[in-house]
Symmetry: C3
Subunit: 347 residues, 3 copies
C-alpha cells in the first residue's frame, strides 16, 4: 500500500463539479484562548470584542470574538479541499456574518461549488465556491463566496462546461445581519475610544490609520496555524523558490482591520465583506500600514445602529497620500490589500 | 473632512492640566488566554498564578492572574492618552495591587494629572499622573503614579504653573493590601519550589537568579500588543532611526520578575511597586538576566504572611558581581531595569 | 548569606539514590489558553482535541486537550530536579496516558529514581526515573520512565551501586488505557478528515506526511516556556558555544505528531509512548517533516476502538524515501526524532 493512498493531495480542477458539496474537516471549538492570541497577534482594541462589559452594555447576551476569528477558522477548513493546489486566491463576495461566534461555539464549514471555468492555457481553471460555517446548533455563523485559480491535474483533461455565478458587487444594506439584541442607543464613546458616529463620516472621506506593524515570521505562522490553514507556502521555506514564507492574506486583513481602530474605533462589528483582493504578497520585514475610504453610510433599523461601507487598504510602508491606483489604473506600488466591507457603528 | 479629524494624535504637553481626569479606552476583559500567553512569553513558575489548587490552598477564592498582567493591561490603556508623544518614561511610584484580577474581570483605567513641569528647553515637559484601574464591580484593582517627559506641540506655548507632586519613596508596609482570605499558615514549600521563608532573607542579601532569556521581536511584540499598548517604537521598524524595535519596558519587568523565581519562588504575590527606572533600552538579541537585593522584611497581620521589599535588577548579560552602580554613581553597564517592589511571602 | 543558598542548582549524579522520590514544583492548571497556544504553535487538526462537539460525539464527557500538552506540562516539572544538569536525554519507555487532561485540571508530578549507573569516565552517570503526573483528584494522568545522562558534581565521588531497571520495549496492548466512555462506533470520518480506519493500515506501511514547518526561535521558546521547562539551552544564546538556541526535543515530538494528521487523521488519541530517541538537535531555520511506519495494529475492547503502533520519525528536510537508518545501521542524515507510540483509532 503506497503512502499516496493515505495522504490527502487536495483537489485539482478536474475534481470539482458544479453543485458538488464538500463537508470540510475539522470542526473546531473557539475559546477565550483564541481571543487572547488574536489580541497578541493583531493590535485590536475594538471595545465589543475587548470587553465583556461593553458587549453587554450594547445588548449582546454573550461576548462575541472578533468576526475575523470566525472567518479565519471557517476559511481555514476550506483550504485542504479547495485551495491547497491553488495558484491564486482571486476574490471574495457576499460574505455575511450571521450569528455571532462566542467562546464555546464549535464551527464546521461546508462548500458548494457554484462555478467553474477552465483557463485558455488548459493548465488551470477558476473554481467558485459558496462556503457556509455553522455552529453546534446548526445556525449559520458566516457564509461567503470565493473564487480561486486551481491547477489541473493534467492539461489533457477535458474542460468542464463553463458556469460563472452571478455575485453581487456589494451586500445590500437590507441584507446585513445585525446581531440579536444589538442596541447602540446608550453607546459609551469614551470607553470605545472615539466620538465619531455614523453622521460624522462622509462618503469619499479617507482616513490614514497612522500606525504600522513590521511583520515577523513567527507571528504570521502562529496566526495562520491557529486557523488550521494548511497552505504550505506560509510555513515552509522550501515551498517557494525564493525561500521566503508568504504571509497568509487573512493575516493582512486582520492587521489592517486592527490598525483601522485609529480613526474607526466605533466601527465595532464587521457585518459583511463585499469584495477583497490580495494585491501583492507580504513577507516578514514588511511594515504594514492601513487607510480607509468611506464608500457609503446607511441607517439600520436596530436602535442606534448604522453601517459604514468602507474600503480598507493595507500598504507596505505608510502612504500618506492614500493612493489606491496609479494613472494607468493599476494598483499603486505598495498596496497589499483592497477590502470592501460593511461595519456596524453607532449613529 | 481631513483624516486628522478622525485619528487620535494623542496629547502633547499643552493638553494636560493639573486636576484633569482622563477616562482611557478600551475596557478589556482578562481571561485564561492571557494567563497562558503570559506563561508562554515569560518563564514564570510562581505557584499561586500557576495553579488553581495552590491558590485555593492559600485561601484565595478565585485564581488570580499574575499581578503584572493586570498592571500591563491597565497601563496599556494610558499610553494613547498619556505617553504616545513621550520622550521618556521617567518613573513610577506608589503602585499598589488591591483586589486581585481573576479571569472574567474587565478592567478600565482612568488617570488624574497630578503634576506638570515644563523643561528649560521649552520643547518638552514632565507630566505626572495617578492612574487607577477598576474592575467591573467598580473596585480598585491597581493604582499607581507615573511621570513621563512629553513633547510640546509648540515651543511657543506658555509654560503652565509648575506643580510637582509629593510621592512616597516607598509604600509603607501598613498600606500594603493583602488579598482577602490570604493565609500562608499551611503553605506547601515543596509544591512552591523552594523552602526559603521571610526569616531566611536578610536585608542586603543579593540573589543572582542565574537564568537568562534571549529576546526576540515576535515575543515582545505579542506581549506588548496583548496589553493594547500602542507605542509605535515597539512595533514599527520605521519608528526609530536605527530601524530596531524598542522592547516595551514592561516586558523587561515581567521577564525579570519571572526569572526571579529561582531564589525567590516564594515571593508569590507582588503587593506594590515602590519605584522603577528603565535604565537602558532592550532589543531583540539581548540576553536578559536578573538579580535581586533584599531591601526590607516585614511581618504582616494576615496569617503566615510577610513581605519582602526587593530591588529587582535586569541586566543585559549576566553580571555575577550584581553591581548596580559604578564608582561614579551611575548605573553599571548592562543594567536595564532597577525596580523596587514589595512581594508577599510566607513567614 | 550567599546567593547560592537560595537558587536551585539542580541535582547532580551524586544527589540521586535508588528509591528516592522527588515531588516536583510547581503544580499547574491547564486551560483553554493552553489548547489555543498549542494550536498556534503546532499545525494540529485532530478532531477530538479540536472540537468539543466531536469529543462528545465519541463519548467523552469533557473536552480533553492533546495528550502531549499534558505530557509536556508534566515533563517540564521534572527538568529542574532531574535534567537541568543533564548531558543528554537518553530515552523514554512505558509512557501511558491514563485519565484525560481537561481544562481546569491541575497537574503535579513526582519522580522515583529507579536506576543509576555511573559511566566509566567517572564524570557522568545515567539516572533512570519513573515520573507520575496526577490531577487535582489524585488520579494518575500520565506516567513514564525516562533516563538521562547527568554530570557528577565531582569526578572523585564514589560510584553508587549499579541498578539498571527492566523496562518494556513496548506497552502491551492490554495495558493501554482507553478513556472512560470512548466509543468510536458512530465515528464521523468526514468531520475527522480521512476515511482510513484500523483495518486500512498494514504493518510495514510507511506514510510520508508531506508537509513541513520551518522552525523559528520565538515559537519554540514560547512552547517550551509554556511547559515551564527551564533548560537553559532552549532560551539563552550564551548557553551553548555555537550561540544557537537548541530546540526542546518535545517541540519536535509535537510538531511531528501534528504533521502526521495528513495520513493519520484518525489516530485521534495518543495512548502510549513506547520509546523515543532525539537523534539529532534541531534549530531555528530547520524545516521539519515527518513520516510514520505502522508497527502493529490491534483491536481493543472499547466499542469501535483499535490501536495503531506507529514509528513517528521527524526529519530535517523531507525524505520521500523514508529511510530510518543507513547501511551501517546508524540513523540516516536528517533524522531528528524516532518515536514509537500507540494511538487509538476507529476500527
Amino acid at each position: 500500500m503506497s503512502s499516496a493512498a493515505k495522504t490527502n493531495a487536495g483537489n485539482f480542477f478536474e475534481d470539482f463539479s458544479v453543485g458538488q458539496v464538500i463537508e470540510h474537516a475539522t470542526p473546531r471549538t473557539v475559546t477565550e484562548g483564541d481571543r487572547a492570541l488574536y489580541g497578541a497577534i493583531y493590535p485590536t482594541r475594538f471595545a465589543v470584542p475587548s470587553s465583556a462589559e461593553f458587549a453587554a452594555s450594547v445588548g449582546l447576551s454573550a461576548h462575541p470574538v472578533e468576526e475575523l476569528i470566525g472567518f479565519h477558522v471557517a476559511f481555514g477548513k476550506t483550504v485542504p479541499d479547495v485551495s491547497i493546489n491553488a495558484v491564486a486566491n482571486l476574490g471574495y463576495a457576499e460574505c455575511r456574518f450571521h450569528v455571532p461566534v462566542v467562546p464555546g461555539d464549535t464551527l464546521r464549514t461546508s462548500s458548494e461549488v457554484i462555478g467553474l471555468k477552465q483557463n485558455s492555457n488548459g493548465r488551470t481553471g477558476v473554481v467558485w465556491v459558496r462556503s457556509t460555517a455553522t455552529n453546534q446548533r446548526g445556525e449559520v455563523a458566516i457564509d461567503w463566496a470565493r473564487w480561486v485559480m486551481v491547477h489541473k491535474r493534467s492539461a489533457d483533461s477535458p474542460a468542464p462546461e463553463t458556469v460563472v455565478p452571478s455575485l453581487a458587487d456589494v451586500v445590500a444594506p437590507e441584507d446585513l445581519v445585525v446581531p440579536a439584541g444589538l442596541d447602540f442607543s446608550s453607546y459609551d464613546d469614551v470607553a470605545a475610544g472615539e466620538p465619531h458616529r455614523l453622521g460624522d463620516y462622509e462618503v469619499g472621506e479617507r482616513i490614514d490609520h497612522v500606525d504600522g506593524v513590521t511583520l515577523t515570521d513567527a507571528e504570521h505562522m502562529m496566526a495562520t496555524r491557529l486557523w488550521q490553514n494548511t497552505a504550505k507556502v506560509h510555513f515552509n521555506t522550501d515551498a517557494r523558490p525564493d525561500g521566503r514564507r508568504l504571509v497568509y492574506g487573512g493575516h493582512v486583513i486582520s492587521l489592517a482591520r486592527a490598525l483601522s481602530f485609529n480613526g474607526l474605533a466605533n466601527a465595532q462589528l464587521v457585518a459583511a465583506i463585499n469584495a477583497g483582493a490580495h494585491v501583492a504578497p507580504a513577507f516578514a520585514g514588511d511594515t504594514v500600514h492601513a487607510w480607509s475610504e468611506v464608500l457609503d453610510t446607511v441607517t439600520l433599523d436596530a436602535p442606534g445602529v448604522g453601517a459604514l461601507r468602507l474600503r480598507l487598504v493595507a500598504t507596505r510602508g505608510r502612504d500618506e497620500s492614500m493612493t489606491l491606483r496609479g494613472d494607468d489604473g493599476t494598483y499603486a506600488d505598495g498596496v497589499l490589500l483592497d477590502l470592501d466591507l460593511w461595519a456596524l457603528v453607532p449613529r
